[in-house]
Symmetry: C2
Subunit: 298 residues, 2 copies
Amino acid sequence: MGSRPADFDFDRSTQVVRRGMSAGPGLRDPGVTSFDVTSFDVTSFDVIVHDGWDIMGNANGGYVMAIIARALTEVTGRPDCITVTCHYLAPCPAGPAVVDVVPVRAGRRFATATATMWREVDGVRKVIAQVMATMGDLEKDPGGPTSMAGGPSPIPSYEECLSFGGPNDAASPALHTRLATRFHPDDVGFRDGHRSGRGLIRGWFAFRDDRPIDALALLLASDAFPPAVFNLDVATNWVPTVELTVHVRAIPAPGPVQCSFETRYLQNGLLDEDGEIWDSGGVLVAQSRQLALAPRAG
Amino acid sequence: MGSRPADFDFDRSTQVVRRGMSAGPGLRDPGVTSFDVTSFDVTSFDVIVHDGWDIMGNANGGYVMAIIARALTEVTGRPDCITVTCHYLAPCPAGPAVVDVVPVRAGRRFATATATMWREVDGVRKVIAQVMATMGDLEKDPGGPTSMAGGPSPIPSYEECLSFGGPNDAASPALHTRLATRFHPDDVGFRDGHRSGRGLIRGWFAFRDDRPIDALALLLASDAFPPAVFNLDVATNWVPTVELTVHVRAIPAPGPVQCSFETRYLQNGLLDEDGEIWDSGGVLVAQSRQLALAPRAG
């Protein structure tokens, strides 16, 4: 992709630059009392959607979510997205954009905010993504009881899984040049026309430059695998995400994280994809669910 | 609960009254160009959170979501929440409140908007819930392929399942006086101290007054069962929802809908609860997932 080395860095690629803050009332119709005035603050950030974190020219949804999450962290002062939901409203080619963050509530344990990523296109404000998140600090969280119905499902080791998307693999999405993802050999048959018949894709997520996997990186990981629906016997090659929700459940221990994404119900062109991400210590570090479209093959 | 008959009606109980619309720019710091101005519209609704849709005095989360969804329908002109996420920020006793809706994007197939339910408490604006939704019209949706990994799991018929919360059952939440929910006999042992050990609760959802189950009612159904975590061997009696997402996948055929809610991973006091709702024709009508807290038992 001809990317400069600096672009390779996830942290540089998700940088946000605070632009300014404004506070103002949302004015209602004249004659209303102060009870009818909604006050709000907007903090704006300049961001650059970097080339090379894309699928066919449009930024990966997890990457978009990570940029917005960084802005949310800045405004709320909380490092971790406990739960974050993103609605994807327009494709996002590389280039500058703005992220506006509006705080909703700040409590002792959590802080909730909304965010909008937008850019001006042909003189018109175009919204790329709308986000709502409740932020916290998992390291300081008071915690509580644990009762797990299962753990990570057994899959081949990182070394036994298959890589694709290396710098010499022109057929793979650009995103994978940044990543050192590895895939379960049983789950990538769709690449040469051998769909497994089960909407499942499993493997390991890591950065190619060995950047540690923190809460922000888990957002990227939640959307970095090929769609699980590719393994169903259904003609789909374009699976736009309508909505992605990620629950960050813990900060991963060092090393690649084990991922599993499954589509169970493709019904009338709408599908779910549920993800689980486990760290090397067998801790559940994230759960994800997305609603996506599988348009009729034209 | 001494509710008047009119209060019993789900439609009256989720009524929203349009108050007015305001359009205004979100002003930035002085000297910025028009590129830096965020424009937005707010449409406000007066709503009444009715008594009797509560759990121990606080409105049920699905009921709160349904009220807000009605306001979203009014503003977007789309009847169905294709995907809706609600973050619950304060308990909600019965009484008046305001729902502010802000449109984000209106496309041909879907329209996205955010909404805030709030009320004034002791002179301070208190946010009860923050919502983001993408709305559509399932009856006119273009559709697409279908490939289902399963169907509704076999459970006893509606008649064979157990009811509770009848008008004479003072120990049940008020909510259940409005509903004709029935529960799988294997899943309600927690009520007399016999937890099944599996975080699962299954049964049927219906209204006591036989109101049809439409997209709005599915939002209520998604949060109307006792927490599945009650069946785990963990001391919890209070399970506040942080976030609930519902995907409405189809409009149900007539009759009670079959529901299943499962908590798989309670880890350090944070838990998931995944729901599936199927209609009498075996169609998946909704999926839900919530992130909730299981505080340490005091």
